[in-house]
Amino acid sequence: MLDNFFAPKAVAVIGASRVPGKVGFDLFRNLVQYNFRGRIYPVNPKAGELFGLKCYPAIKDIPDRFNLAVLMIPPKLIPDALRDCCERGADSAIIISAGFKETGIEGAAIEREMLKTAGECGMRLLGPNCLGIIDTHSRLNASFAAGMPAQGSIGFMSQSGALCTAILDWSYGSGVGFSKFISVGNKADLDEVDILEMLGSDDATKVIIGYIEGTNRGRALLKTGLRVTKNKPVILIKSGSSEAGARAASSHTGSMAGSDAAFDTAFRQAGIIRARTVEELFDYAVAFSTQPLPNGNRIAILTNAGGPGIMATDALQGTNARMASFAAETINMLKEKLPPTAALYNPVDIIGDARADRYENAIAGLLTDPGVDGLIILLTPQGMTQIEETAKSIVYSTIEKTKPVLTAFMGEDMVESGIHILKKNSIPNYSFPERAVAVFSRMADYVAWRATETVEPVKAEYNKENVGRIIADFKKMRKTSIAGESALRIFNALGIRVPVYRIANDIEEAKETAAELTYPVVMKVSSPDISHKSDVGGVVAGICDEDALVRAYNQILVNCRRFVPQAVIQGVEIHQMVTGGKEVIVGMIRDSQFGPMVMFGLGGIYVEVLKDVNFRVAPLRESDIDCLINEMRSIKLLTGARGEKRKDLNAVKQTLRLISTLVMDFEEIIEMDINPLMVLEEGQGVYAIDARFSIKVD
């Protein structure tokens, strides 16, 4: 769909310049000097010839049709220029020029006009305010970057043009090759989702990496990511993860950094690997682009020194990767080939005097073990270590590329020549073992992710009509918060149980009601004017008899008079008290980028303190529900701690299904939570004890 951006038959460069140092010069030179295979038409009213090519005074003077236009002219001239390009057949345009929405209201108006013109002409735009595009396969370098990266299989996109140039520069010495290089700029039209989609279907791209500061299409990113990551790994940096960083991002691109937790969750759900640093991004990218994927998560570590081996082993903690256990044949083989002082079990320590042949023998044994899914080779430069020979042996022994092999030649000067050999032969080397372990664990995670089947989201049955009616009533009253009795009515419609309760206008009614519901009961002030009843001392739980009831009644009304004197008090609510359960929280917040995110975790009054909650973007799939529950740190409270019986997790799951369905059905619900949701023993279900909904009224 975006083919003409990357492999056009002909390109017009509007604003090509003969003045060195100008963007129009650098870009045009790049286009000419890297052997782009299509035709090139420079447009400049003053230049007669550029790099031996005839220069046209205006777009209309170009005699032939072209597919791609690259524009580097003042913003105000761009809409008309786009029309002219369209007349010459262009359906794609890269707007390098700056001076659009990043410069304020006027620039934003021009950007809108430009976008409108493009829409009318049926053109797609990249940029504005971007570095351009590089395609190493079609040899198109329509960028003003200094140089051309090596050909490779990594597709890179970036919201920061400057980061593009830095990474390009780094790539020249690293041996890393790229398939495509895309700077998205202001994202007036094409954004990270479009590029992801395109790179996803690009045969030359094996691994997609990128840098983003935010997105305006979170749900589309999630959806596209979910599809693309099943075919090839996608590794993204999302900056602005800290509060100060988010602030910097907001004034940089005017895009909301978004809740970092939301990005984390969405990336996980989409199978997108999140890199925290540029170093991580390339650590992962190099391994994914050069090594086969592992079949599982079992790693073998081979080292010539004990310390690094132990550190590598330590680094596995907290990841899903595991130390491999070797087959008897492997151990026998190692025993035969290695000196008696070597450690034969994982990590395999072939000790300090290991020369290349010892590495080679060990590698051969370890890679043939069916219980090993990948190998990390560590080397420290010692007196007898053969740096270059060992590197060559590694290259030679892993030539078949049946399993991923990562190396960590530790040091600087002494190991440099070895590292050079490894890089040249596409074997990733990391300066320290921990980085290699992190890379392997990400590869193993990705393989596990790819193996999961993408199933349809859950949909639960409930009385949608009734819920709709309650929400409509509140919208009509222009009330943004539904709590108390009305919230409980929503649960009735959902089929989530709530404790029985009644309103009592005075103490006599309260006594009768409590006796009827049977003690113990909970008493809450009944007043629509008081939204946070506990905060004003308007709730007393565990009332066991009439004396306590009278005390609670008086105390609640005294508290309310003191803290909210102007509230209209209707009386008190008497609730049946649910005992013997565990308190969890189920909720939802509607993220501005990713939409409804369902929350689950430990509930009660310590939610804020313990923060044992997790999120998933709705609609949930069964796998999301399982993850939400299992990720809870205090999950043992539900599965039976200290001899307690297991709690009703099926009822919890059903509640999550209902909430996922509800928040997808009703966009008006901005936020909601049930806190606590009381989970009783297995088979006995759950109770929504307290809840609140925030709704959008206009």
Binding site: S250, P528, I589
Partner: protein, 356 residues
């Protein structure tokens, strides 16, 4: 000629709204309606003349030709009070009587707007009850109920006006309290001899303030989307917290103005992404250009003010104390609430004298 006195026992209960609604209703009945406010409690300059804000508005709303000085003969200015303390306020009563005569001439119904209490005018030697008696007005009180103040003052007023007392409209009642009012409060008041003419729910829109009024009140400059300065703000949030906490609050609070610093671009963007009508940036700090562009595109005015956040909040507090019904959107909503909640027939009966 009939006269209604629309008063209340406390301030800002919604008298102006009721006046506007009654005026519209009566006009639709084919009546020639006029407005009169004996004591101007909301001084405002009209040209070089000090008059009353309600009087000025109603004059325009009812297209009255009388001068603002006739519609509101006595404006309670500082100077007038000093004169009253010195015993030199002049013949206030006569001034009122003459103005009333001019305003009521040729009209079927006059709506007399009350001030902050039903005891106004005493300082000037003309208690409002005297005016009510002389003009034979039917008294309609617009009241707000809360647990703390109760109904004692209202019941006392009922006793005082006796035959002239038409009844009460209970205003600003939380919608979820309406049933409680119908079942508990109304029967009580009726038993006590106070006729309840209607219950009007609290509506956040009616308590809103326009971006224009806000900018004017704060002495700020609107730097984006000035075509949206008529938009109404219902809530205010100070943005000084961490972004996650802010997002949660911004999501819940709708149709709001967010008060924050020009350097908090993260909060400004967060505000733009939720239901926000306006940004107020303090300390004369302009936001990044890209955010200005975004706000302008979204039609959200940004007001840049000199004051610090605390001063802005104080100024806004003083503005919110006296919401006024001027904007068409508020008037329309006010009418809807009035017609839904008030027993129009009971009020019409006052005109024909067929009431019990």
């Amino acid at each position: 000629m009939k006269a209604f006195y629309i008063g209340s026992t406390s301030e800002y209960t919604g008298k102006s709204l009721v006046c506007i609604c009654l005026a519209k209703m009566l006009k639709e009945e084919g009546k020639k309606v006029g407005y009169f406010k004996p004591f101007g409690t909301l001084p405002v300059m009209s040209g070089s003349v000090v008059t009353d804000e309600d009087a000025l508005f109603m004059r325009e709303y009812l297209e009255m030709e009388e001068s603002p000085e006739d519609i509101c003969p006595i404006v309670l200015t500082h100077d007038l009070k000093i004169q009253a303390y010195r015993g030199k306020a002049g013949d206030v009563k006569k001034k009122i009587q003459e103005a009333y005569k001019r305003v009521s001439k040729g009209r079927d119904v006059i709506l007399i707007g009350g001030g902050h209490t039903i005891d106004e005018g005493r300082t000037l030697g003309v208690p409002v009850s005297e005016i009510i008696m002389e003009t034979k007005s039917k008294v309609i009180l617009v009241e707000r109920y809360d647990e703390y103040h109760g109904f004692d003052t209202l019941l006392a007023a009922g006793d005082r006006f006796k035959g002239n007392f038409g009844g009460v409209i209970l205003n600003k009642v939380e919608p979820e309290n309406i049933d409680f009012f119908r079942n508990m409060i109304v029967p009580f008041l009726e038993r006590e001899g106070v006729k309840v003419l209607g219950i009007m729910p609290r509506d956040p829109l009616l308590l809103s303030v326009s971006v224009r009024d806000l900018a004017q009140h704060l002495g700020g400059d609107i730097i984006t989307a000035s075509e949206h300065q008529g938009d109404l703000i219902q809530n205010f949030v100070v943005g000084a917290m961490a972004i996650d906490a802010a997002m949660s609050r911004f999501r819940r609070v709708q149709n709001k103005a967010v008060i924050t610093g020009g350097d908090r671009s993260d909060l400004q963007l967060a505000a733009l992404e939720t239901s926000t009508r306006c940004l107020i940036l303090t300390g004369s700090m302009y936001p990044p250009l890209i955010i200005q562009a975004k706000a302008d595109e979204m039609g959200i005015p940004i007001i840049v003010v000199k004051d610090d956040t605390l001063s802005v909040v104080e100024k806004i507090d003083s503005l919110l104390g006296r919401p006024h019904i001027k904007e068409a959107e508020k008037i329309k909503r006010g009418h809807e609430i009035f017609y839904e909640g008030v027993d129009i027939e009971k009020i019409k009966q006052f005109l024909t004298g067929n009431q019990r």
